[in-house]
Symmetry: C3
Subunit: 132 residues, 3 copies
Amino acid sequence: MFKTFSIRTNYRTDLIEITDTVYGFLKECKVQEGICVVYVPHTTAGLFINENADPDVVFDVKNFLERLVPWVGDYRHTEGNASAHIKSILTGNSLTIPIQNGRLSLGRWQGIFFAEFDGPRERKFYIKVLKG
Amino acid sequence: MFKTFSIRTNYRTDLIEITDTVYGFLKECKVQEGICVVYVPHTTAGLFINENADPDVVFDVKNFLERLVPWVGDYRHTEGNASAHIKSILTGNSLTIPIQNGRLSLGRWQGIFFAEFDGPRERKFYIKVLKG
Amino acid sequence: MFKTFSIRTNYRTDLIEITDTVYGFLKECKVQEGICVVYVPHTTAGLFINENADPDVVFDVKNFLERLVPWVGDYRHTEGNASAHIKSILTGNSLTIPIQNGRLSLGRWQGIFFAEFDGPRERKFYIKVLKG
């Protein structure tokens, strides 16, 4: 089972929780045991799993990445978004989550985040569910 | 096949090899071909694969991460462990390893490490084995 | 389906696109729906997905990593390649890509890169294709 999802990002760096979307698709799939792969087909966006309870965590993540890979810097790529490409590599662009008893194996505080690093834009992500 | 494992960490940052545990579960599963997914359901811990022969490698990894994401810093998250959340994102919280002829495709020097970034604590990780 | 591939790297840090190799193996497999796992069994090399159109992107990635994790530094590992071990952890050593209609779900600008951090060397990577 495979499905494409659209997402609208609103800022240059925009970390948006997509946990409910992933759960919604999992329900449609009716898979009890298997894995769920979330995949971002962009080179200036990524994915990560982290705390969704306190929004300050995501704020700190964003802030850390901005300082580590500044938007303006000694880059050769002339499109001006080299920083976004590098952040995409640091977070990665796919996630693999076990499915057990029809549920994602997310921990109590874990949420799944789409990470926009060169927005605002219309973006896509894919969810693939594999039985087994 | 899916199993939950407990692990006791002993330091704030504690990088603990779990390769033998993963191999042990793989033996139980009697799967010849497939993939093995290791997953950490925490937001201040992670996973990585790297050298297990010379403990200095893991020391250097720990040291590098501490300097890159200092414990005390300009963070907004009031629980005081923002650094641990960020490190968890940098290492990632899941691993996918092919299984071939009943063995993990680990290289000669590769070990699987549980990465505690906000210990000491009782932690969990999951192992999922998929045939195919 | 599982296959081992050899790759010759030519520089200490050498980011080499392997997308065509992965596509070639996928064709052999004749799998319409599933996932593709690419795996590097080394501790001083990694993998990532990013833009393959403008070589300046890969140049900027390389440059960023060199500055973030300098080759010469305050490391304890006496082999002299601690920097390569750390870079391997930051990029990761496996990728999981959905397969849909017999094609990898790579985005338009995405290429798959083998990341050498301690070359030049003869290296290996594995491709595993799982139906489902």
